[in-house]
């Protein structure tokens, strides 16, 4: 690995273009969601990008509410939302629901999944679930310093190719890798990097067919809905919340970003 610390000290480097806006989130161009397992350093990444001082701690479950902040990079203004840490998006506890609903209905322009490099396998469970709901995501492979201390090596290029999304190694506590993360955000939201998210394979043929069938039907009913495939899966599982949302037509309403805030007020 090339020693990047000199580059990062140089004023022409990326962070030179970063303007931390703190809680000033007026007129943002893009929405970025920050997801991840508990205690992977989401809040540290959040603070790094926004310049805010969210209390961080070596402590799972520190962030229980959504925290929001803003930053500006390459003349685009971003609103960053720090979601509560969760291990999955499938079960029904409040924090998982908040995270899931935001990625699903808040339609962030990109979702950053902060991942603990020393526990990649378990963290990937969440990444794969996120990729089921959204097209545009970035893996922030955090705690690389700890991984190094434990002699863990990760082939991030292969990982990126397999997942079909950018994978950025970082050491957020030291601010290392944040410039690369910013570049990746910029590339994804501006379509310079087209994500081809990995979709789970192990399901049976019958299921795949059923999902496809229902997805088509949903798309015809709700052409604006961006996550038809995921809604189809939930529908097939018999998720009462989704059934109700379809019945009431709410599902197309919450697909629009401008109504997201009221939706969250209700959560």
């Amino acid at each position: 690995m090339i020693d990047q610390s000199k580059c990062e000290a140089c004023p022409v480097h990326n962070t030179g273009n970063l303007k931390r806006l703190g809680i000033n989130m007026d007129k943002f161009d893009f929405v970025v969601a920050l997801a991840g397992n508990p205690n992977t350093g989401k809040s540290t990444v959040f603070n790094n990008l926004t310049g805010l001082k969210q209390h961080t701690g070596n402590w799972p479950g520190k962030t229980v509410t959504r925290a929001e902040g803003g930053f500006e990079f390459n003349n685009s203004r971003y609103k960053l939302i720090d979601l509560p840490g969760t291990y999955s998006l499938l079960s029904t506890s409040t924090d998982e629901e908040i995270a899931r609903d935001f990625i699903l209905f808040g339609q962030p322009d990109v979702t950053i999944v902060v991942v603990d490099a020393t526990r990649l396998e378990r963290n990937l469970n969440l990444v794969l679930q996120v990729l089921e709901i959204t097209e545009r995501a970035i893996v922030c492979l955090n705690l690389m310093d700890e991984a190094r201390r434990r002699y863990i090596e990760i082939d991030e290029r292969t990982l990126s190719r397999d997942l079909g999304i950018p994978v950025i190694p970082t050491e957020a506590r030291q601010g290392i890798g944040i410039p690369n993360l910013l570049t990746a955000i910029d590339e994804v939201v501006n379509g310079k990097f087209i994500c081809k998210p990995y979709r789970i394979t192990g399901t049976s043929k019958g299921l795949a067919k059923a999902v496809e069938y229902i997805t088509e039907k949903i798309k015809r009913q709700f052409p604006l809905l961006p996550n038809a495939r995921w809604v189809a899966l939930r529908l097939l599982e018999g998720d009462q919340k989704i059934i109700d949302a379809i019945r009431s037509g709410e599902i197309s309403g919450i697909a629009k970003r401008n109504s997201v805030e009221e939706n969250f007020a209700a959560v």
């Binding site: 499938l90 090596e153 990995y198 069938y213 019945r247």
Partner: protein, 477 residues
């Protein structure tokens, strides 16, 4: 909405229902399974662990000791004791210096200035003797212990020790029918109860969440640590030979914190056997790796986020409280001040439980913030006990250069070691501060649970103090 659309929706739901039966019940499981298999497949491909040396396992080595069955708790007590001992030993001198500056030097200057520009005496009384002195007092009493205690505590947190504390206690909480995660929210409560109560959102079951909310108050919070430390230094430390004073008073504070944990367990047990019946749900607690604490960052956050934050809150509440104190001390009905009316009226009951009317009045005035209990107690004590030679009149906070002076005043006010112990107990067991009460209401949306959470600890406080007092008097006589 047209009828056709409605039918289309029902058709969609219906066909999903049909398909669900065709695929079988196992859909959810099969999705989860494939997520796990795929994650494992990808991870195996990209992760390489080379020459796993012994060094890697130092986390487990530490964990084996600090979370062990036999050593876990003793180590926990030892760590807390060391933190308090350092705090108690270190805070005395800077406290005196600050009091010297703000109270001895600056207060007369302000008074002279006020009279030189012809300020009426009631106004300078309210503003300078009330508001200003309350603020000066809070800063000199609270700033030094906080500036030592919070960085130490934050270092432990940053290092990763607090989740181990939670791990040690998790089993106990489950045994009493509460959620294991309550151990985490209790530990958060050691910082701030309002924060701890918000943190109970990590508990899914409403039953267990309510238990965690009600019992969070048994975690000594930021606002109460300084009270505990100061009173322990004066009464517990004062009762033993000087060379033992630091250690013994630190042990007393740890004892109170432990008692709080025990109360939270007992009350959780009581609740889950009576009005909140149910089984404890299972969960897995992940122990984060130990991380080298970032010293500078920790100093920064603990000073800004905690020390200054708590101090600011204390000052904000101390100013109006100072005014209230001055007023109750100076407004007289039938020749006696309101404060004296109240203390005379409540003394019989208060003395029965080993406290006194002054303490009760102080706790009423200090409902907005636990931080100002001690300054209020001292001020009222001087007033009611009519101590001569300190201060410059009724309801004026006085010059206090050191812990020794504080001690002299409390002893003159008729305080004994028993009063000190009871105040420490009552500081642990009383109603939450107004911020916390408001947070409880916001989180539960229920007046019933808010009232229970607020009243229950006070009742327990009276009961425990009464019990201790009776036993003490029995033994003493």
């Amino acid at each position: 909405m047209t009828k056709i659309q409605l039918n289309e929706k029902e058709k969609l739901i219906a066909s999903a229902n049909t398909l669900r039966w065709e695929i079988g019940e196992s859909l959810h499981d099969s999705i989860i399974e494939s997520i796990y298999t795929d994650a494992a497949k990808i991870a195996n491909k990209v992760v390489k662990v080379k020459e796993q040396k012994k060094k890697y396992s130092y986390d487990q080595a530490i964990d084996r000791i600090v979370t062990s069955k036999w050593l876990g708790f003793p180590i926990m007590f030892l760590m807390l004791s060391v933190v308090f001992w350092v705090t108690i030993e270190g805070a005395n001198v800077p406290s005196g210096l600050i009091a010297n500056l703000l109270v001895d030097t600056l207060h007369p200057v302000l008074k002279d200035f006020a009279s030189s520009i012809g300020t009426p005496s009631w106004l300078s009384g309210v503003l300078i003797d009330g508001a200003y002195l309350a603020m000066a007092w809070v800063i000199s009493v609270m700033l030094p212990p906080m500036a030592i205690f919070f960085p130490l505590f934050t270092l432990l947190e940053d290092f990763g020790y607090l989740p181990r504390v939670a791990f040690n206690m998790d089993n106990l909480y489950r045994k009493v029918g509460a959620h294991g995660k309550q151990a985490l929210t209790m530990t958060m409560g050691f910082g701030c109860n309002a924060a701890g109560i918000i943190a109970t959102r990590i508990i899914d079951s409403p039953r267990e969440r309510i238990i965690a909310i009600i019992t969070n108050n048994f975690s000594l919070c930021n606002g109460r640590w300084p009270t505990q430390i100061l009173i322990a230094t004066i009464f517990i430390g004062g009762a033993v030979p000087a060379y033992l004073a630091g250690i013994v008073s630190a042990a007393a504070v740890v004892g109170i914190a432990l008692l709080g944990i025990i109360f939270s367990l007992v009350v959780s047990w009581g609740l889950s056997k009576t009005i909140l019946k149910g089984e404890a749900s299972a969960f897995s607690l992940e122990l984060p790796p130990y991380r080298p604490p970032r010293i500078l960052r920790t100093l920064y956050t603990s000073l800004i986020d905690r020390t200054i934050f708590v101090l600011w809150r204390a000052v904000v509440f101390a100013v109006p409280a100072g005014i209230v104190i001055w007023l109750v001390a100076n407004i007289t009905i039938g020749g006696t001040s309101i404060a004296e009316h109240f203390t005379n009226w409540s003394d019989p009951f208060a003395l029965l439980v080993g406290l006194n009317g002054v303490i009760l009045l102080a706790y009423i005035i200090a409902i907005p913030a636990n931080e100002i209990v001690v300054p209020t107690v001292l001020m009222l004590t001087v007033l009611v006990a009519g101590i001569a030679g300190v201060g410059s009149g009724d309801g004026v906070m006085f010059e206090l250069d050191s812990v020794a002076d504080t001690s002299a005043i409390l002893h003159a006010g008729g305080w004994t070691v028993l009063t000190g112990i009871n105040l420490m107990l009552f500081s642990l067991l009383h109603n939450p501060c107004s911020t916390t009460i408001y947070t409880i209401y916001k989180e539960t949306k229920s007046i019933k649970w808010t009232v229970i959470s607020s009243i229950l600890p006070v009742m327990m406080g009276f009961a425990v103090c009464f019990f201790v007092t009776q036993v003490w008097r029995l033994i003493a006589s």
